[in-house]
C-alpha cells in the first residue's frame, strides 16, 4: 500500500511517501496509525498524538474507524489550513 505524508507529518517522518506491507491485523485507519508509530523514532515523533492526524483513503477524507480495504493510497496529514 502506498502511504503519502504532508506538512509536518512529512517533515517528521522524513519522507513524502513510501510503500508498506501491512500486517493482516491492521484493518482500519486508526490501526494503521498505531502500527506506524511502532516503526521508529521518526514515526513516533510524527504520530505522537494520533487523534490530531487526519487520514485520507484514496484521496477521500475518512474517520479513523474507516476500513482500509486494500486501499491503493492512504494519506496522513495535520489538520488543514487552507484558504
Amino acid at each position: 500500500m502506498k502511504l503519502v505524508y504532508f506538512a509536518w507529518v512529512r517533515e517528521r517522518i522524513g519522507k513524502a511517501e513510501e510503500e508498506v506491507d501491512l500486517p493482516i491485523a491492521v484493518t482500519t485507519a486508526g490501526e494503521l496509525l498505531h502500527w506506524l508509530k511502532s516503526r521508529g523514532e521518526e514515526y513516533e515523533n510524527a504520530l505522537q498524538y494520533p487523534d490530531v492526524i487526519r487520514v485520507a483513503i484514496n484521496q477521500q477524507h475518512v474517520d479513523h474507524a474507516e476500513k482500509l480495504n486494500g486501499a491503493r493510497e492512504v494519506a496522513l496529514f495535520p489538520p488543514m489550513t487552507g484558504g
Partner: protein, 159 residues
C-alpha cells in the same frame, strides 16, 4: 438544480480577479449579484517573508469540486469559481479566490462564505511560515474558530 459545472483550479500562478468575474458574467443578462472573496498573504507587521503552501494534488481538486457542487445544489447559483494557489506566496500576494454569481444577493454571499469556510479547514492545504529574519518558521496551526465556522453550515458527511 445546478446547470453549470463549478470552475475549480489549483495552481501556483497568480489569478486575475477582473478576468475571472468577466468569465462568469460576460454577455449574460440573468445574473443580478456577484460576490468575490480574495484571500491574501499578510506580512504580520514585517515578521513574515512568505508563506509556503503545500497541497495534496488530486485530492485538493476533487474535494473542492465536491463541496462546490454541494453549494450549487444548496443555493440558486449561476456560476461558482474557486482558485487556490500553492507554493511560495509573499505578503500582499493572492492566495485564494472564490466567486459566486446568482440572481439573489444572499445566495451569492452565503455560497462564497460557505466555500471559504470549507477551504479553511477541509481542503488539503497546509501553510508554513517563512520568517523575515531567516529563522525557520512553523506550520500554521488549525484554528478552532474555523472549525466552528464550518459547523454552522451543517455540512454533509465527508466521503
Amino acid at each position: 438544480m445546478a446547470v453549470f459545472t463549478p470552475d475549480i483550479r489549483i495552481q501556483s500562478a497568480d489569478f486575475d480577479l477582473a478576468a475571472e468575474v468577466q468569465a462568469l458574467t460576460a454577455g449574460r443578462t440573468d445574473i443580478g449579484a456577484v460576490v468575490t472573496f480574495s484571500g491574501m498573504c499578510r506580512g504580520e507587521a514585517g515578521r513574515l517573508s512568505a508563506l509556503e503552501l503545500e497541497h495534496y494534488p488530486g485530492m485538493a481538486e476533487a474535494e473542492i469540486s465536491r463541496v462546490a457542487r454541494q453549494a450549487a445544489e444548496r443555493w440558486p447559483l449561476q456560476g461558482l469559481t474557486a482558485i487556490h494557489r500553492y507554493g511560495r506566496i509573499e505578503p500582499g500576494e493572492n492566495i485564494v479566490l472564490v466567486i459566486a454569481a446568482s440572481t439573489h444577493r444572499h445566495a451569492a454571499f452565503e455560497a462564497a462564505s460557505f466555500l471559504m469556510d470549507f477551504l479553511k479547514s477541509r481542503a488539503p492545504f497546509w501553510k508554513k511560515e517563512h520568517q523575515a529574519d531567516g529563522s525557520s518558521g512553523d506550520w500554521i496551526d488549525a484554528k478552532e474558530a474555523d472549525e466552528e465556522a464550518l459547523r454552522r453550515w451543517n455540512l454533509e458527511a465527508q466521503g
